[in-house]
């Protein structure tokens, strides 16, 4: 029996160690001590197991996220709109949405919305007749309960594409800021931004794929500019470095923010010019930055009661360990029985805990010991961080 037990422990350790490594699956070596968060965190120990039905999905590792953009954004002043701004539009019938921007610390007065009847569009300094197929007022958007303080115009087919001048003839507050969103649905030009995972350990490089594409062919000589938006809304420029097919960047230095589940965003503007054609696309993806606050130190011997293990805890907080419990069927093959979770509020230091198994589920199951625990996961619930998954 002793020998059997040690085989189980070994196979458990191997199945955990042999897990496919990717950054979100790593268990960082250098743990960080950070202050306990201010918000309400559960302190009670909670164990919960759910039986896994035959054929039920257990889940795969992180999947790639891809963002496709056929739009771009500009920010201009009221004065610039009254004087007229240049707009490079690459797709006929593009939608141009104008929104008065809220200033920090103030609610936006209603009268800053632009009347679409006051929007004029020119090409080579000549006004275009029947330039718009749609004009949407603030009131019309209000019926859909979306985009308040916004108005929009949709260019007609007749207006075509190319360089336009857009002017607002109503007098606008000169310093009021406006967002101009040009949406070119169906455009041949798209920005494709993809990232293999959305969970990164703090201090490591972040890589992603990026291309500006025309009719499925990546364009060359494209200028990319990027910035990070932090969970609190601050923007920091980042330098993109090209490494073969990928782009790589280091997170810019910024003050530690208590984001509690809110995400960082990488925003990328891609611009390309060929003769008179100028294309701009804005895209983004969201990701979390994990502070390594704890790690799994040792795994004990698995029994019907559960799996004891020890955690290295650098930051006081609530931690959840979970995994899928497997047992042997009559043919001697391992089959999943239940997913077990245990969460504890822990102080810093080495802590011994147990992933507790549900005895009723075990008893109901036709699968027998020796048990294994796979898909072991450690989460910092206090800071909403996925510390390791295997």
């Amino acid at each position: 029996m002793k020998q059997l037990k040690s085989i189980v422990i070994l196979s458990l350790a191997l199945s955990i160690i042999a897990g496919q490594a990717s950054a979100d699956q790593s268990s960082p070596n250098e743990l960080v001590s950070v202050a306990a968060p201010n918000y309400r965190i559960e302190h009670q120990t909670v164990h919960f197991s759910q039986a896994i039905a035959k054929g039920s999905r257990l889940g795969k590792s992180a999947q790639k996220y891809t963002n496709i953009s056929d739009e771009f954004w500009l920010e201009v002043s009221g004065q610039a709109l009254n004087n007229g701004i240049n707009l490079h539009v690459s797709q006929p019938q593009a939608l141009i949405r104008l929104t008065a921007k809220r200033q920090p610390g103030s609610w936006l007065p209603d009268n800053h919305a632009i009347n679409p009847a006051a929007i004029k569009i020119f090409k080579r300094n000549k006004a275009i007749n029947n330039a718009f197929t749609h004009k949407v007022t603030k009131e019309q958007y209000a019926t859909a309960n979306i985009f308040p303080n916004s108005s929009a115009v949709q260019l007609s087919k007749n207006a075509g594409s190319g360089l336009f001048q857009l002017q607002v003839t109503d007098s606008l507050s000169p310093h009021q800021r406006y967002l101009i969103n040009v949406k070119e649905k169906g455009s041949r030009y798209i920005q494709r931004l993809s990232v293999a995972k959305q969970n990164f350990v703090k201090g490591r490089k972040i890589s992603f794929n990026l291309a500006l594409i025309s009719d499925d062919i990546p364009l060359t000589d494209v200028r990319h500019q990027a910035f990070i938006k932090t969970p609190l809304g601050e923007n920091h420029e980042v330098i993109l470095e090209r490494k073969k097919e990928k782009f790589v960047f280091d997170m810019p230095h910024h003050e530690q923010q208590d984001s509690y589940g809110a995400l960082y965003e990488l925003h990328v503007t891609s611009q390309w010019q060929d003769g008179g054609t100028q294309v701009r696309r804005d895209g983004k993806f969201a990701f979390s930055l994990v502070t390594p606050t704890a790690s799994i130190a040792n795994l004990g011997s698995i029994t019907a009661a559960g799996l004891p293990l020890s955690l290295n805890v650098a930051s006081e907080g609530r931690y959840e360990v979970s995994g899928v419990v497997y047992g042997l069927n009559k043919k001697g093959r391992y089959r999943p029985i239940m997913r077990s979770h245990s969460a504890y509020f822990l102080t810093s230091g080495q802590q011994s805990i147990v992933i507790a198994f549900d005895q009723e589920i075990l008893n109901r199951s036709s699968f027998k010991a020796p048990y294994q625990l796979r898909r072991l996961s450690l989460k910092d619930q206090s800071r909403m961080a996925v510390l390791s998954t295997r």
């Binding site: 929104t99 949407v136 916004s150 938006k229 609190l232 601050e234």
Partner: protein, 285 residues
């Protein structure tokens, strides 16, 4: 013979867990801070019609929480857990059916996917027999991205029932991709939810001044909808793509398959008694 049959029925009544269950329904609203969701979000006729499907039509609760917060916050999932537990205890509910709309589906998926987050969660998970998710925003919506573009300090755009909020940020497409991959169950490639989470999909929006159907649940201006459609697929309810609504759990039905007259359900209409939706749900309960 009659005696034997009635005796058998008596035994079934005594021992069948289905017949003994004390079933209840909770109505869980979507994005917004509700204080009177019965009137402001669902409407009395919808709730009264649906609850006729219960053995005891008084066994229901209408949740009022702050779903402008992130789903994991105390004001959102915490508030929902408190109100559901209170309902379970007060009415001694043994079998709970949840009816969610829009982002309400995400908040309940949070509870099911993170059972140890809060000691109030397990009692709820153990009582729920199914979730009827009306137009859930399981994969987010590009409109949330369009609303929150620009720094959060400078948000200028609004959303359903108020200005851009944390809940709207959470429902951006790449944000929901992250939460679905690391914190929520039920989507493709993720562990299955431990309850039946079945969605009703709104596939289109009809908005025409001459069509009285357009006015059920509130009128959308056609021109405004045509422009928001620039961010959405051809199959959408005006706010959410069908892919997002069907992104978690299983699809119960796509609106036109079961609604009266094969009418589509816009995002507003999927929480009102439009085109027999209330009766379809009642019959399922």
């Amino acid at each position: 013979m009659i005696k034997i049959i009635s005796g058998a029925l008596c035994c079934i009544a005594l021992y069948s867990p289905i017949l003994l269950a004390n079933q209840g329904i909770a109505f869980i609203h979507g994005t917004g801070h509700q204080t009177d969701a019965y009137n402001d979000y669902w409407s009395g006729p919808f709730i009264n019609s649906v609850t006729q499907g219960l053995a005891n039509s008084g066994n229901y609760t209408v949740i009022n929480c702050d779903f402008e917060q992130y789903m994991w916050n105390e004001g959102a999932a915490g508030c929902l857990a408190t109100q559901l537990n209170s309902f379970i205890t007060t009415k001694n509910i043994s079998q709970l059916t949840l009816i969610t709309h829009s982002n309400g589906g995400n908040v309940i998926r949070w509870i099911f996917s993170n059972p140890t987050w809060d000691s109030r969660y397990p009692a709820i998970i153990n009582r729920v027999d199914k979730v009827i998710a009306l137009a859930p925003s399981s994969l987010g919506t590009p409109l949330a991205d369009a609303v929150t573009q620009g720094s959060s300090f400078e948000q200028a755009l609004g959303w359903l029932l108020g200005y851009a909020s944390d809940a709207v940020r959470q429902q951006q497409v790449s944000w929901m991709s992250y939460y679905n991959q690391y914190w929520l169950n039920g989507t493709s490639g993720r562990p299955a939810l431990s309850t039946n989470f079945k969605s009703v999909i709104g596939s289109d929006v009809e908005s025409a001044v001459w069509d009285s159907d357009s006015y059920c649940g509130g009128y959308f201006n056609q021109v405004a909808l045509e422009t928001t459609q620039n961010w959405l697929d051809s199959c959408s309810d005006g706010f959410l793509n069908c892919t997002s609504q069907s992104g978690a759990g299983s699809v119960w039905f796509i609106d036109k398959q079961q609604t009266s007259g094969g009418e589509p359900l816009s995002h507003q209409q999927s929480r009102r008694n439009c085109f027999n939706l209330d009766i379809i749900i009642r019959n399922d309960i």
